[in-house]
């Protein structure tokens, strides 16, 4: 599998027993493509939509409530 990373919207809280990494619902993270495929198939992540962007980057300078577009 490639090292390519894919932006993933976390649908609900979960953890990966192998990498011991935890993911919080509502966040958007760049994760390796192979992991994304597995998490997506498990119904844990999906590709972010325009509506997800305001909540995706908590470190963003944008004020809360901004909407994309």
């Amino acid at each position: 599998m490639s090292d390519k990373k894919i932006s993933a919207f976390i649908i609900r809280d979960f953890k990966d027993a192998g990498t011991e990494q935890s993911y919080k619902q509502g966040e958007t993270q760049d994760i390796p493509e192979g992991q994304f495929i597995n998490y997506e198939a498990a119904g844990l992540v999906r590709k972010p939509t325009a509506d997800d962007k305001p909540t995706s980057t908590s470190k963003s300078n944008k004020p809360d409530g901004n909407t994309a577009g």
């Binding site: 599998m1 609900r12 809280d13 979960f14 953890k15 990966d16 027993a17 192998g18 990498t19 390796p32 493509e33 192979g34 992991q35 495929i37 597995n38 998490y39 997506e40 198939a41 498990a42 119904g43 844990l44």
Partner: protein, 158 residues
């Protein structure tokens, strides 16, 4: 190989099928480890026995079709575990997609001794002392008594 233990064994699952059904194909996959596994269950193929009992003569037995089996791991349910969620998705009755499953063992066979030689082993018994940074700091050939072992381990713990 002598006796071994299943401790440290892991099971992992991937949503993608391998491009080739060999070590290279499976090695290229990304698998997600399943958490909370207590036991994995029996692994391996079973071949059916096909029998025919003629009216005259002994029963005839033939090697039948092979069933590559199914895994029945014992798992502590954890709704927040990624591997378990993928396992549940894969096992859903309406899902006919092909998934990949990997099982890793904590030890393996070295029937020819090639792995031991690659690590620089020249005789049995032989002891290696590795410090906390992963550096090989001492190699001891022959039996190792308790007193000497304590001295060497104390050196590592300083």
């Amino acid at each position: 190989m002598g006796s071994s233990t299943a401790a440290g064994t892991t099971i992992a699952i991937g949503a993608a099928a391998p491009l080739t059904f060999d070590a290279a194909g499976y090695g290229a996959l990304t698998l997600t480890e399943v958490g909370g596994v207590e036991s994995i269950g029996a692994i391996g193929a079973n071949t059916a026995k096909t029998e025919f009992q003629p009216l005259k003569g002994p029963k005839q037995k033939h090697k039948g079709s092979t069933d590559y089996g199914s895994l029945q791991p014992a798992i502590a349910h954890d709704d927040g575990d990624a591997g378990q969620n993928l396992l549940r998705t894969a096992s859903a009755p309406t899902n006919n997609a092909l998934y990949s499953v990997g099982v890793t063992y904590p030890n393996g066979r070295d029937l020819s001794g090639a792995v031991a030689v690659d690590y620089g082993m020249s005789g049995v018994p032989e002891s290696y002392f590795v410090d906390r940074t992963g550096q090989l700091v001492r190699k001891w050939q022959g039996p190792l008594d308790d007193a000497r072992l304590r001295v060497y381990l104390d050196e590592l713990l300083r």
